[in-house]
Amino acid sequence: MSLIYNWMYYIASGGLILIGMYIILVKTNLIKIIIGLNFIDTGVNILLVCIGYVKGRTAPIFSTSRINPTNVVDPVPQALVLTAIVIGVAVLALALSIAIKVYEHNKTLNVTKIRGLKW
């Protein structure tokens, strides 16, 4: 049981990253690939947050005096994830705009049919 407990969030984040990588490596549709990038971002965010989690503690917001400073989780990964989410959104928007332009030139989203995108 403790094995499941220890691994479930890692499975979530690792699973999302692997699914994202799979999409990027195998799928041929550009928008699918961008969805894959989004999944990778999400997976890394979950990884960061669960690194900072400590069992049985609460969020680091001292809104009432009941909360003891020894009883809060690590605030730093949460701060990092906030930044990472913003960066993810920025990349997503830019990627979609470039994909629109690629479609405009090629009339297809299939990367195997676009000469410049084969790798």
Binding site: L25, I61, P75, S97
Partner: protein, 236 residues
């Protein structure tokens, strides 16, 4: 295609192996806080913000947030540059057709009219209270942008004046950098918290944090709005 699949599965297996080997070294749910002890124990008295995440985001690691805001700015500007089209066709060829089919239904239009100011106020609430409750400039900005998005969805022909958007964006960015430079002048460190800290857990506390969060909120909100505007290809 087949070889591609095999190669990718090998890559994925290597990646999965790496994850298993590394994650097993980081026990989940155990206390492994190191540097953050300092933030948790000293955060309130040093920054005046009860939300330690906020004080980390804007004070201890304020430089990251400056970078984050810059990234979003780049995305908005870059998207504008990529989707820029020189000649704007003024009239749609088949205007009469659009009118009825593109119009949203009355319920949606009226509902979004009613909700729009409320959503804006809600976004403002979130970024003003960034140092007291969860949330902050970025989340509030996203809420504001969602409000504008609602209006874009409900009224296909509406657009915003892009000039004023970009002015607000630049001004709020300049406020952020300017506060940093003021900190450099007043106390010798870039982005230092030079204002009085106030009493924790009240609205007017935490020195520069609320000011920066308000600036960030406006900046993020209007940037995301201009992203949507550019993607939809409206405005001028």
């Amino acid at each position: 295609m087949r070889t591609r699949k095999i190669i990718s599965i090998i890559i994925l297996l290597i990646l999965a192996g790496g994850f298993i080997l590394t994650f097993s070294q980081i026990p989940f749910g155990k206390d492994k806080i190191n540097v953050a002890h300092y933030y948790i124990s000293k955060g309130i008295e040093e920054t005046g913000a009860v939300n330690i995440v906020t004080s980390v985001v804007l004070n201890y690691r304020g430089f990251d947030t400056l970078g984050e805001v810059t990234v979003l700015f780049i995305a908005a500007i870059g998207l504008g540059a990529v989707l820029f089209t020189e000649k704007r066709v003024q009239k749609h060829a088949s205007k009469s057709k659009d009118d009825k089919t593109k119009k949203a239904s009355l319920i949606l239009r009226t509902g979004s009219n009613l909700l729009f100011p409320l959503i804006l106020l809600f976004g403002a609430y979130i970024f003003v209270h960034g140092h007291l409750t969860p949330g902050g400039g970025f989340q509030g900005g996203a809420v504001i942008a969602s409000g504008f998005l609602l209006m874009y969805l409900a009224f296909p022909k509406q657009s915003i004046n892009k000039k004023s958007l970009s002015v607000v964006e630049s001004l709020s960015g300049l406020i952020f950098v300017g506060i940093g430079l003021f900190g450099l002048i007043f106390s010798g460190y870039f982005l230092s918290n030079f204002l009085p800290k106030g009493i924790p857990n009240t609205l007017f506390s935490a020195g520069i944090i609320p000011i920066i969060y308000i600036a960030v909120g406006f900046k993020v909100g209007f940037e995301l709005t201009s992203v949507i505007d550019d993607l939809l290809g409206r405005g001028k």
